[in-house]
């Protein structure tokens, strides 16, 4: 029987048990560092928890939102984690992503065996790549909105390139590169327009917060906001 329980994220039964375990093992250290940072920040600032809850809710909603792309006749979702990484930091974003992805399982998106893989693609690869580019662009004196937008765009694409790699590594170990290309090509027609949307809302939201409520950055990043 063909059960399409997960129309977003990787479903159970797709990855081999070994690769499910590998992705869990890779994600655990990042989650541990993230939890440690959250605990430390909560002791320092009582306003931290509400910000964290808000960002977690944003990731949960954005990453499960079916946005139709009529040109391709399919739908997909942005991820929101690069923007979250700019506001609360990349390690904390890993924890929020893992929690959001866990709850996605109960509304039919993703699977428990593939939670580690989804955390690596959406919670680690995307926010870290986006955040690094954000820092790089800010160091080159690029405007805040542009840096945040590029982080969102690249993070979105990297997320799906990582997912394609996860599928190729697990299912086609002898022809990883060619199948990685093939799966990436399958994602891109729908994901590219959504990456543009991710650019726009990441740029807009980060710039808006910086203009109106820069204190949220201070709370989120522990007062260390040289790049805002």
């Amino acid at each position: 029987m063909h059960v399409w329980c997960g129309i977003m994220h990787i479903s159970d039964g797709i990855l081999t048990p070994m690769w499910c375990l590998v992705w869990y093992v890779i994600s655990l250290p990042f989650i541990a560092v993230g939890v440690w940072r959250i605990k430390r920040r909560m002791e320092e600032n009582a306003s931290y928890m509400p910000i964290l809850a808000m960002i977690g809710a944003v990731i949960f909603i954005i990453a499960v939102w079916h946005i139709p792309v009529p040109v391709t006749g399919s739908c997909s979702h942005p991820i929101g984690t690069p923007m979250a990484a700019i506001i609360v930091g990349p390690f904390v974003t890993v924890v929020l992503s893992a929690i959001a992805l866990f709850f996605h399982i109960f509304i039919g998106h993703g699977g428990i065996t593939t939670l580690g893989a989804s955390t690596v693609s959406m919670g680690i690869a995307a926010p870290f790549s986006g955040y690094l580019l954000y820092i790089l662009f800010r160091k080159m004196n690029a405007p805040l909105w542009l840096s945040a937008g590029v982080a969102g765009f690249v993070g979105d694409i990297v997320c799906y390139l990582t997912t394609a790699l996860q599928l190729a590594l697990s299912l086609n170990p002898d022809t990883v590169v060619s199948h990685w290309m093939m799966y990436s090509a399958g994602y891109m027609p729908t994901q590219l327009p959504l990456a543009v949307a991710e650019f726009i809302f990441s740029a807009g939201i980060v710039q808006y917060i910086a203009d109106r409520r820069p204190d949220l950055f201070e709370v989120g990043m522990g007062g260390d906001v040289p790049h805002v």
Partner: protein, 114 residues
Amino acid sequence: MSDFVDRFTMTALVLMVGITTAFVICAYIGHLGEVGEMDGTDAIVEEMAADTVGKETTSVLPAFLTDIVGEPLGFTIAGIAAGFIVGYFWIDISASGASERSERSGRSGRNSRE
């Protein structure tokens, strides 16, 4: 405006409603158009990948919310629950942020006068 609904909060809420409306309208147009039911790209690529080795997707944990009440109602219930949680914390965020800002501006005002 009160401290709870400052300009930031009001603009954020208006933007949120606007973006949500745009997504809902686009989704409705896409659904009514000739494309009809749209599959998720993740599922399409997964199916392509699974076909290369003859695998099938399964479900270890049940999607109890959407399986029992259906996706639209499931998301509505989840949205209501999340709304209560976010709403509870929203007061903390906006009120503490507003009071901190007013304290800070009051302090800087005093400093400049001194």
